[in-house]
């Protein structure tokens, strides 16, 4: 079933399909990064493919290769019961210029999956509505699942976040916190008390 699908993609995108292979029963199609979105649109809209579910989208880092990253998507068709793995390759060996088109227009699940790939691999998805970190915090430096991420080093401490438009006091100041642990309100008589001790 999915063999037919591979032939279909070969026929439809003869120049964009770089290679196809079948391993352990999984059909894989590797396409040009520039055709990523068009192929995804075809998989979604063509009645023969009818891929209504984007099961998974992730990336794999191969630091010795050029292009360095493989973007891997797994599609599933509930109606037809077939699967396909679609891959593309992006990025130079330094880990720069890792850009591919977003496919959030066709599947809602792509939203979080692409955010995760951006967070952990630094893949920029062009056209993503809300591309920010999802598993790591915003101040995190680097992308942890890259092979050259220094896993033996620690991240720098981050300062208290200054959020605009929210009137919030920094935690554990004298005005906020546990009543039994610290002074919770200022004493007007404090100055005179101090002077008396002195």
């Amino acid at each position: 079933m999915s063999k037919l699908l591979v032939d279909l993609l070969n026929k439809k995108f003869p120049t964009a399909v770089l290679e196809t292979h079948s391993l352990y029963g999984d059909e894989t199609v590797v396409v040009e990064a520039s055709a990523w979105k068009e192929v995804a649109r075809f998989l979604r809209e063509s009645p023969q493919a009818n891929m209504d579910m984007l099961t998974d989208l992730t990336a794999v880092d191969f630091p010795d290769r050029d292009p360095r990253f493989e973007i891997v998507a797994h599609f599933y068709s509930l109606a037809k019961g077939h699967r396909l793995r679609l891959k593309t390759r992006v990025g130079d060996p330094e880990g720069e210029d890792v850009e591919v088109d977003s496919i959030t227009d066709f599947w809602a699940s792509a939203n979080w999956l692409e955010r995760e790939a951006y967070d952990l691999f630094g893949v920029i998805f062009i056209g993503h509505p809300d591309l920010r970190r999802i598993l790591m915090y915003p101040e995190f430096e680097g992308h942890p699942l890259r092979k050259d991420y220094p896993a033996d080093r620690i991240q720098p401490l981050i300062a208290y976040r200054d959020v605009p438009n929210i009137e919030k006091i920094a935690p554990f100041s004298v005005d906020e916190g546990m009543s039994f642990g610290r002074q919770t309100h200022s004493h007007p008589k404090k100055d005179s008390d101090d002077s008396r001790v002195n």
Binding site: M53, S109, W112
Partner: protein, 404 residues
């Protein structure tokens, strides 16, 4: 302060019209400890919500890349800490798919029995916690007590209550104990009686029904587009179950039904889980009948399975074999595979990339919870604040799996 005796038409009676930002979580009990929702409320209606996950991120996928393939098992255990056995088996199946081996029949039935027990524990926890969050504490205690029986059985079989690390590539850590069959039958009978009692307690309760029915509705198209699987997808009426659609182990040889809902609200998700407990009981009974009392559990391949300890200590071949597997790891041929099983919350996929050495090059866990939590935004937008609790509870977000 303004005087109270003012004329009404002189007073400024202005309702505040600007929306209120409310932060729920990550330490809120209804958020199960690991999700933060920043909600924009207009009155009690949720206008927008930003669901933020990642508070339980421990970097499993990174950690998997520095050990052997066998050393991944403890990590997948801790991904879904409510049904770890399903994760164990799912990962073992993925590795076996790459190695091109099939475990002996006895092991397959054994995996199915333990897996279905784990699924029962998963569903009991979710349904019990849902009831508790809506104020019904008794069903929660009863269900958790029943779950405790499953864990006692697991402890007898594997040695650990929760994080068993019991799966192995090419088999299981040890063969079934001699009391497995009678223990499993006793546990299943008890769980079925608990489920029936809890149904009687809850399904006649007006408050419980009112808070679930018609709440947290999601359309079929949205659920599919969001990549939902498992009980949450089946509650929308789509009978997609990996065990039926793409059978693995021996699921094609047992009889069971795939319960589906129709309204795709919280109540349907609750009921689908209860119905699945009953189907799991059917599978367990059939598996017990097919499980042989003796025979091999592990594949007969010295490159994959550790030799028995007597051989390790007494023969040079055994020592070398043991040393090779422990120090270098099982050599999985270079390539990539996507293997999927039905986890407690849906399709649990493993995308593995191997470079032919004993260490995984990339282990990608496709967590069902991650995509289900991604749909939380659509489920609760436009609902009342109080509906967040049952909606979120019915999705059964498991933090370890969602954040990894």
């Amino acid at each position: 302060m303004e005087p109270l005796d003012q004329e009404l038409d002189e007073a400024e009676l202005e309702m505040p019209t600007e929306p209120m930002l409310l932060n729920v979580g990550p330490a809120h009990p209804a958020m199960h400890g690991t999700v933060r929702c920043v909600m924009e409320l207009s009155g009690e209606i949720i206008e927008h919500v930003d669901v933020q996950v990642g508070y339980l991120h421990r970097g499993f996928e990174k950690m998997c890349e520095r050990g052997t393939w066998t050393q991944v098992f403890p990590y997948v255990d801790r991904c879904n800490y409510v049904s770890p056995m399903l994760n164990n088996v799912g990962f073992a199946l993925a590795c076996e798919k790459m190695l091109g081996i099939t475990v002996p029949e006895r092991c397959q039935w054994y995996r199915m029995i333990l897996g279905e027990l784990a699924r029962m524990s998963d569903h009991l926890t979710c349904d019990g916690a849902m009831a508790m969050e809506l104020g019904a504490f008794t069903p929660f205690l009863w269900m958790i007590k029943a779950r405790e029986m499953i864990w006692d059985l697991m402890e007898e079989e594997t040695g650990a209550r929760l994080t068993h690390s019991f799966g192995r590539v090419g088999g299981m850590a040890s063969p079934p104990t001699e009391h497995l069959k009678e223990n499993a039958r006793a546990v299943v009978a008890h769980i079925l009686s608990v489920v029936e009692e809890c149904e009687k307690l809850l399904l006649g309760n007006r408050i419980f029904l009112d808070r679930l029915e018609g709440v947290g509705i999601i359309s079929q198209e949205d659920a599919v587009s969001l990549g939902w699987t498992g009980p949450c997808l089946r509650a929308t009426g789509i009978p997609y179950d990996v065990r039926k659609a793409h059978p693995y182990l021996r699921y094609d040889e047992v009889e069971f039904d795939v319960p589906v809902g129709s309204a795709s609200d919280c109540f349907d998700r609750f009921m689908v889980r209860l119905a699945e407990i009953r189907q799991s009981a059917r599978i367990i009974e059939q598996s017990i009948q097919r499980l042989a009392d003796s025979g091999p559990v592990n594949v007969d391949d010295p490159r994959i399975i550790l030799p028995p300890k007597e051989e390790v200590y007494n023969t040079i071949e055994g020592t070398i074999q043991h040393f090779k597997i422990v120090m270098e790891g099982i050599k999985i041929p270079a390539g990539e595979v996507y293997s999927y099983t039905e986890g407690g919350n849906g399709e649990l996929g493993f995308y593995l990339v191997s470079d032919g050495s004993g260490t995984p090059y990339r282990v990608r866990i496709r967590p069902p919870c991650f995509l289900i939590t991604a749909g939380l935004e659509r489920v609760i937008t436009g609902q009342m604040m109080a509906d967040v609790v049952p909606s979120f509870g019915s999705l059964n977000m498991i933090g370890g799996e969602c954040d990894r």
